[in-house]
Point group: C2
Chain length 554, copies 2
């Protein structure tokens, strides 16, 4: 078992010559390789794509065997992959998936990191994350887009879909949080982001994710005021501690249009600078006395949350962005910490109710022009979706492709299959240089059970019911997706989620057309179904509008 | 939500007129109803089929809606059932399953009885057991057959496949254990069963599951001696306490040919009579002082296991029959309690390595003659399988059909699809009055991860890896099974297993022929694959012999 080989450099082949027997098997081959492209993967030599230890294959022997199996796979055969290792090839039929994948699944009583790590060490498993082991990760475009969608939805819910002249107050410009200022501006809003580390601000300035740095709070507020007045969105970074700046803003009577936070509050030792401390003090104490740091950090978080609650009480839309800061404050005695909601129930769930989620596609040709052509097609087919057009324009300008050119768009039931059919037609007509693959994140409307994130606080209390992602996977398999995956763990870790993935190839054939129509309808429809079953009005209305046949719907 | 309605009496329709649009949808309809037949289900009015609270549908409203949906379902549609409730109908294609089922699945961290019970009470879930919620339970025939196969395999492993002149020593003639004397005699061996409760012995005598009762140990041994000498197998019940009788047999130097036990040792309060106690004392103390009972029962179990270990050391094949008695003895200080194996690693696993498991079929016509004709066909196609012929002869004589006539046979890779194809041909030629459905238990070779039972002590330590049953379900879906299910819990309860089921209809069409060939080959092949991957020689040899394409097989 070879787990590290930094000498190997994998890149997906480009162009229209294939080494597998058809595009249906060339596609998983290229997408597996693309996940390990040095421009895409975090540690390609270790087969690690992203998210800690999320791998594309169990070890290098397994990688080579998967490649070999895919090259030989016939049009009526299906390859089975068990936690990144190819374990069987079976005869199925042309409308069946070509690859079926199960990653990191453990019987619940044993579904712990300890047991997983033991199996992982023995070479019996690997961690599949979400799109790492299911071969449809395409770099950091997703983070920007997810944040953009969250802000856009916030605008829809509170500001009639128009964020111009509005501004978002947040903190934290780290790995995830750094996408906030860019996404805000893309969504049409200004943004003030408090960050305690000069290097984080410099990095975001250099890469164009934040527009300017203010020298102090007065200057920051002046820039924001000008920007909101002239409706020219700008993002401003301010060096400071959120636990100081937010209360100060409250006492000054400043009123943002939205408040959130992406400091790493989930980790009170390493993630949150206590108020009044220098970075140097913090670093030293983290090693020397983590308990003292925890105590001080949580006390500061409590002040931070109290300020957020003050904004919440003023009627300012305020949300927890998945960093667990409410929980920390609650433990510090802030009894009403959970008065403001998490971002999924607040903003993402209404999208999920309509089957809207992180739809994505990649150009197997490797040619960026193919993606620009599909971008144009998306605009043509969805002429009224202003935010989507905006995203596409911004993305073309500001998002660098990593690996095979790809695009992410949040679209839902009724649109996904139309886009898929259009792309397939473009391939058929020779308007694109090679086929397109269409997939999505496992974080989607019908494909995940994750009570601490995607299915937090479901209306009916069904957060932990994982029948839904299993049905999603089975239905995608029955509908003819090109590959289907079932994972456990993912972004929230062992024991905390089960989710499924699907990818379908647009190779321009009439057979693909029929499959695309079914899969890209059924897949988001399971999300609408799941949310309608939980009692969400938006989902029930969406199901009715699209004529879904849900036998238990009242 | 109506969970109890004892006024409703459900029986599957018989004959060749159907109320659904095709046999592919009539079949799940009849099998759902058959699971609730008063001759089949334990509490039909509560939709409980067997195994505690294993249900066929979530509530009566769901039952009615499933029936209505199946009656309308088209040849290219698929019904989704989430924990016994019909939640969606989607367009798929004719080669896809007509029903996809997910029952009782919970995200691992929440996979406890407490959380399940809360969801169950709220009407959000039901317990699917194994074949209850997947509509292929067919009564107690399976218990007798499973025990028969275990004894036959024991004979193969230790006595060259010939149990004549041999005898099995056991205890417990309860719900499961009562099948032992009948199964032993069917397998060609005599049996001495110690049982402490006169009523249990009487019930087994009356129903013909045990042949005679001996008045004391001397008489019992005399009968056994005569039976083994003349090679005329006989089963003998002896009233007594196993914790007394087994040590007595050891001290007398008696040598059985196999030793096992099916007292309810897993439950030290209610399942095991302490040595020296009367039944009346036991019953009283269970209520009054369960701790005293536990202590006394476990002390007796320790003596019981010490006697079993003495037999084991003599070289007598000795196994734990899944009642946890070794664990109890270990806790009482019997350090070597686990020196003798559990029955799955000892006898069932070698069968699983060849894809052999509880294959079963039912006659949708309702006519027993259809089953007798298939019995004859099985004999014709498997002329050399003596034990199978024996089972069929015995079953015809001694097993009463419950609900739709059905048959269970343990057959494996290479045989299952031949039987399926033959049955389909019989339907096509009009030799049977209506189609046949073929299914299996979830307890099968490739379909379950259950570290305390089916996957106990796997050679490579992969007991808890549940990628395998998920792949099995996905592959059956991709191969065209008529319905496919994914369950959690089953026989060992919340948190302890994940498993999948499949059923396929032989409607006599050429399309069914192609599906049968794929499904009934691939399904057992996943079992061979799983065991070959774990390093079992028998499985590796079986994979080679059948030319399976397992890319990682060395
Ligand atoms: N929304 C989601 O779906 C989602 C997904 C993943 C992670 N998260 C959570 O979002 C949070 C941020 O993630 P990340 O990857 O950006 O983390 P990160 O650790 O890379 O960035 C955190 C940033 O906050 C800054 N910071 C710390 N304390 C501060 C303070 N008192 N005042 C101002 N700035 C401070 C740090 O200097 C750092 O730059 C984490 O808690 C993470 O778990 C959310
Ligand atoms: N092998 C398997 O796959 C499997 C499956 C299910 C259950 N089991 C286990 O098998 C055991 C038996 O199951 P069951 O359904 O027959 O249980 P049961 O409770 O119906 O029967 C147990 C019998 O043992 C008798 N008994 C108790 N103490 C005794 C003693 N000291 N001496 C003699 N007889 C005694 C009782 O009177 C009773 O008739 C259970 O522990 C059960 O969990 C095994």
């Amino acid at each position: 078992m070879t787990r590290i080989d930094n000498a190997r450099v994998i890149r997906a082949p480009r162009g229209s010559d294939i080494s597998a027997k058809s595009w249906l098997t060339e596609a998983p081959l290229r997408m597996l390789m693309n996940n390990l492209d040095p421009d895409v993967a975090e540690k390609p030599g270790e087969l690690v794509v992203y998210g800690g230890i999320g791998r594309a294959a169990r070890d290098w022997e397994s990688f080579d065997r998967i490649v070999a199996a895919l090259k030989k796979l016939e049009a009526d055969e299906t390859l089975l992959v068990q936690s990144g290792k190819p374990v069987g090839v079976f005869r199925t039929h042309p409308d069946a998936p070509r690859v079926l994948i199960a990653n990191s699944n453990l019987v619940p009583h044993w579904a712990t990191w300890d047991h997983f790590n033991e199996l992982d060490r023995k070479g019996l498993m690997m961690y599949g994350q979400m799109t790492a082991g299911s071969w449809i990760y395409i770099g950091s475009q997703g983070i920007v887009q997810g944040t953009y969608e969250t802000f856009v939805e916030m605008g829809r819910r509170h500001y009639g879909g128009d964020l111009s002249g509005r501004w978002i107050l947040t903190a934290g410009l780290g790995g995830m949080g750094g996408a906030q200022p860019l996404a805000a501006v893309m969504a049409g809003a200004s943004c003030l982001a408090i960050e305690c580390r000069p290097s984080s601000i410099e990095f975001r300035l250099r890469t164009g994710y934040v527009d300017v740095q203010a020298k102090d709070l007065d200057e920051a507020l002046a820039i924001i005021e000008e920007a909101t007045r002239t409706k020219k969105p700008v993002s401003v970074a301010l060096l400071g501690n959120a636990a100081e700046v937010l209360p100060e803003l409250v006492s000054r009577g400043v009123r943002p249009d939205c408040v959130t936070d992406q400091t790493s509050a989930h980790d009170p030792v390493n993630g949150y600078l206590p108020k009044g401390w220098t970075l140097a003090q913090w670093e030293e104490k983290r090693e020397a006395d983590p308990k003292v740091v925890t105590k001080a950090a949580k006390a500061s978080m409590a002040e931070h949350v109290r300020a957020m609650l003050a904004f919440h009480r003023m009627g300012v839309p305020t949300v927890d962005y998945g960093n667990n800061i409410r929980q920390m404050a609650l433990e510090e005695g802030v009894a009403d910490a959970f008065d403001f909601p998490g971002f999924v129930p607040a903003y993402i769930r209404p999208l999920f109710c309509r089957g809207i989620g992180p739809f994505r596609w990649a150009a197997l040709s490797g040619d960026p022009e193919d993606i620009y052509r599909t971008d144009a097609k998306v605009k043509e087919l969805l002429p009224d979706n202003k935010h989507l057009h905006n995203w596409l324009d911004m993305a073309e300008k500001r998002i660098k492709f990593q690996g095979l050119p790809a695009r992410i768009c949040w679209v839902g039931l009724g649109d996904r299959h139309r886009l898929g059919l259009a792309f397939n037609e473009m391939v058929a007509k020779g308007e694109l240089k090679a086929p397109i693959v269409i997939g999505r994140d496992h974080l989607d409307s019908g494909s995940v059970a994750s009570p601490n994130r995607e299915t937090e606080a479901m209306r009916d209390g069904s957060d932990a019911v994982s029948d839904w992602p299993l049905l999603n996977a089975l239905l995608n398999c029955a509908s003819g997706a090109t590959w289907v995956s079932l994972h456990h763990g993912g972004g929230v870790g062992m024991g905390f989620s089960q989710h499924s993935g699907m990818v379908i190839v647009c190779d321009g054939t009439p057979e693909a057309e029929r499959r695309i129509e079914r899969v890209l309808w059924n897949d988001p429809a399971t999300g609408v179904m799941r949310h309608a079953d939980a009692g969400y009005d938006i989902a029930i209305a969406c199901a009715r509008e699209h004529g879904l046949n849900l036998p238990s719907l009242p």
